[in-house]
């Protein structure tokens, strides 16, 4: 049923593709972590009163928005690597610097994710109803408590759909780190395609795997959104019968 070259083991490339797909997911998760942190920080900067912080965050967004992802990856890997090497030399380290590919790739993708996520977070923060914040202050919460109990959790609920979209984009963008010869799915696929001279079979297989990742993410995203909206009347826009409202633990 499965063509021999796609089987597992020494004769086929099936196992290589699966390992590549796992690395794809791994890179995506690292990038997500970096990107969420950067996105939150940049959103904070955009909403801050300091014009310098706002300026930095706006320039960051503008740069990432206008430069191709592929170029950002190459810039981070080569120019970033060279910069770190120069910096190390300044501190008397003379051994050269070998930029870890997974780190460089995740950093580049995280930078991209963060720029777009900052817009999502900014919008979500502003969408939290003012009345709720006033109510929280009125019951005597401190600014910190208001942030942790009201603003942040509510903001996450508004941000979730946007972040879900960005995750889909990120998952596909991982394929671009193949240009720095990082052995994720796309790279493994092109290596196999070249070795066997059967590119169609392999690129089609890769397409199927990427589609699978997309479908799984779609399902997961829908669940997460439903979960986040469970406490909101009319929030679960679903066909299934509504469960009784759960009491928050």
């Amino acid at each position: 049923m499965i063509p021999e070259i796609l089987q597992f083991g020494d004769t086929g490339f099936g196992d290589e593709l699966v390992v590549g797909a796992l690395i794809t997911v791994e890179i995506a998760i690292y990038s997500l972590a970096i990107g969420l942190a950067l996105g939150l920080a940049a959103a904070g900067a955009k909403l801050s009163r300091s014009p310098i912080l706002r300026g930095i965050a706006e320039v960051y967004s503008l740069l990432i928005r206008g430069i191709p992802e592929l170029l950002i990856i190459l810039l981070v890997y080569y120019s970033g690597g060279a910069a770190i090497e120069a910096l190390l030399k300044l501190f008397g380290h003379d051994g050269g610097f070998d930029f870890n590919k997974r780190l460089a790739g995740s950093l580049a993708l995280g930078l991209i994710f963060g720029a777009f996520a900052s817009e999502v977070f900014r919008g979500a923060f502003m969408a939290v109803p003012k009345g709720q914040i006033e109510a929280a202050l009125a019951v005597g919460m401190t600014r910190r408590q208001v942030f942790l109990r009201i603003r942040f959790p509510q903001m996450m609920r508004f941000a979730l759909p946007g972040l879900g979209n960005l995750w889909m984009v990120l998952l596909k963008d991982t394929s671009l780190v193949s240009v720095i010869a990082l052995d994720e799915l796309m790279r493994e696929t092109s290596v196999a395609a070249e070795a066997t001279q059967r590119p169609f079979v392999f690129y089609l297989a890769a397409t199927v795997i990427y589609l699978l990742l997309t479908v799984v993410s779609d399902i997961f995203r829908a669940r997460l959104e439903r979960h986040a909206n469970r406490g909101v009347a009319g929030g679960e826009r679903l066909r299934r019968p509504r469960r009784p409202l759960q009491r928050a633990a």
């Binding site: 810039l75 796309m186 092109s190 001279q197 397409t207």
Partner: protein, 227 residues
């Protein structure tokens, strides 16, 4: 840093011209193809709506770089393809890149247009029907022009994404701006060439953004108070 530009500037500009051509053509053809696709996606007839849905899901659910590789390297595997008239397009990296970009953007623009069509106020359609316009006329005179206006800013974003996506044609050996940049880099490993390329892409992106802002103002000029 400047001598790099003196030596290779012409090549980068040649590359940028190819990039602009690819993006412009992909945008125009993609927009034209997206209209019927968006309408098909909204159709009540399942045999029309389901293929449109699958097309959009496929192109939005897989990376563009894989789509391009499948088109350029994948299809060349078959003798039948290489001997067919399609080879004129599929055998040429630039045409192949254009085809890939166009097919991809069509899917995205169709989704944008679908959102635009859904945003047309119900009352306007009812009014048009009440005036006795046929379904085709309602679409041509009311729904589509309105949908375009609603979708315009999102379409502007999509054009920026095509500009950035067009850099991927360098992976199928097209010498666009990215392709030239990578080839210059591979000669001397001087990474300042990446900075030049980044600046050029940024300029292109700013030009596109500006154009769309102007277009938006012009399109919505009837909304501003007469004065």
């Amino acid at each position: 840093m400047l001598d790099l530009w003196i030596r290779y500037g012409d090549r980068l500009i040649d590359g940028a011209v190819i990039t602009v051509k690819l993006v412009a053509l992909a945008c125009i053809v993609g927009l034209i193809l997206a209209v019927p696709l968006a309408l098909a996606r909204r159709s009540d007839r399942r045999w029309i709506a389901v293929p449109a849905y699958l097309y959009i899901y496929f192109f939005r659910g897989t990376p563009l770089i894989v789509q391009l590789a499948l088109l350029y390297y994948g299809l060349a595997q078959f003798e039948a393809v290489r001997e067919s008239p399609f080879w004129l397009v599929l055998g040429d990296a630039e045409y192949c890149g254009l085809l890939g970009l166009t097919l991809n953007t069509t899917a995205y623009v169709a989704e944008i247009l679908r959102g635009g069509i859904a945003g047309v106020p119900r009352g306007e359609i009812e009014a048009a029907e009440a005036c006795g316009m046929s379904r085709v006329k309602v679409y041509r005179r009311i729904v589509l022009p309105r949908a375009f206006r609603i979708a315009w800013p999102a379409y502007g974003n999509e054009v920026i994404l095509i500009l950035k996506g067009s850099a991927l044609v360098s992976t199928i050996t097209v010498y666009d701006l990215m392709g030239e940049t990578r080839s210059v880099f591979s000669r001397g490993y001087d990474d300042t060439v990446y900075l030049y390329a980044a600046a050029m892409y940024l300029i292109l992106a700013l030009v596109i953004t500006g154009t769309f802002r102007l277009g938006e103002r012009r399109m919505n000029r009837y909304l501003r108070a007469a004065g």
